[in-house]
Assembly symmetry: C2
Homo-oligomer: 207 residues x 2
DNA sequence: TTTGTAAACTGAACGTTGTTTATTGAACGC
DNA sequence: GCGTTCAATAAACAACGTTCAGTTTACAAA
């Protein structure tokens, strides 16, 4: 099946090229600059050709969201440098904020646009593909870390990992997204907000 | 000057009508349904007429943001039912979340779209008009409340009202906005998240 | 090598958008 | 009544996502 295979590869090659170009446009000029005609120009195809590989513009954007979320996952995993669970959570929080500030446009599209995009990132990529989306995997990392924290000290013995992970995440998201959409109104540096936020949370959930 | 006055009134009347209709459309069908032609249809004028009263669509949206922010201010002021500062902060937090869930589209456009919109809400309305925007007034309410809290108990004597208000606000925003854009992924009810969030913050900032 | 078919691809169009502008028409001061 | 001013319109422009009737290409079979 050499021929069908090559055709298939050509197809995924072009799909990847569309995604690569789209990502470049989004990162350099913002999501609104990502138009079908612009992408078509860049890959030197006609606008209609895009629709052979993507159902619509929305699907491209969703895919970019998934890709970006994989990067966030990598950022979070760098929390592994610390061994103490509490310290790890602190590092992860800072990395989360750093991701948001270094990949503003990506963060925007995943967490600050319509819920359809977020759903694509959290749910499974395909219908048949049953593995969790990168968003869910990221969240699971947090839950895992709080479970470890629970076991690390008697003070945290009664902590509900899922609930606390939700609050932890919501708090970080609040700081990160407020910095993005109301930057000039947040006087305190993000790092300070994040650090005190984590500190306060860990102190507050002690039983 | 009866004539000029009447003309002026006609002008502001029509401007208000545009805003009223625009708000109705946004609330009922979402921001994307708010098109110039749609508004023109509704007020029974031609599309071009809108531009006699607004520079562009953006200006209408910004005005809607300002109007929505006034409503948020009202929601927050209902925290006055309590006398204890800590309790007031709890009520205000719940009201904040309630505003976000009852005025999703407004919350979205103010806090989750481009920073230009947010800037319009926080800054002064006009260049010559020096009074603070509704957003700034809302934030000042929080700062005021934390200042009261500081005076209410020795535990809070060293608290920095502005910084803590920023964290408080960021945390609430995180919960509210995450519920809007990733609703199905936040298992815990928003009210619970908000209440524990405030509780944890107040516990954590004690010196 | 030629033919037939299936797929990739294009160019032009459709219906939207926001926005601009030449032109109209009515209301007003004189 | 006359001339001016200004609100309002109709029509257009450019750009958007998307569709589709065709054309071209690439390959299997003959």
């Amino acid at each position: 099946m050499g021929i069908a295979e090559r055709k298939q590869r050509h197809k995924t090659d072009l799909r990847d090229k569309v995604l690569k170009v789209s990502q470049k446009i989004m990162l350099n000029e913002g999501l609104s600059a990502l138009t079908i005609r612009r992408v078509a120009d860049e890959i030197e195809y006609s606008p209609g050709a895009i629709y052979l590989y993507f159902r619509n513009r929305e699907e491209i954007v969703r895919e970019l969201g998934r890709l970006g979320m994989e990067t966030l996952l990598e950022y979070l995993q760098r929390g592994d440098v610390a061994t103490d669970p509490a310290e790890r959570l602190g590092v992860m929080a800072l990395n989360y904020a750093r991701f948001a500030s270094e990949h503003t446009e990506t963060y925007r599209l995943v967490f600050m646009s319509d819920s359809e995009t977020a759903r694509a990132v959290f749910g499974n990529g395909d219908g048949k593909n049953a593995k969790a989306g990168p968003g869910e995997r990221a969240f699971h990392m947090l839950v895992h870390e709080f479970t470890r924290l629970r076991g690390s000290h008697a003070d945290f013995a009664e902590l509900d990992p899922i609930r606390v992970a939700e609050i932890y995440w919501a708090h970080l998201h609040g700081i990160a997204s407020l910095k993005i959409s109301c930057s000039e109104f947040l006087n305190t540096p993000v790092e300070v907000l994040v650090e005190t936020s984590v500190k306060v949370l860990l102190a507050g959930i002690k039983s």
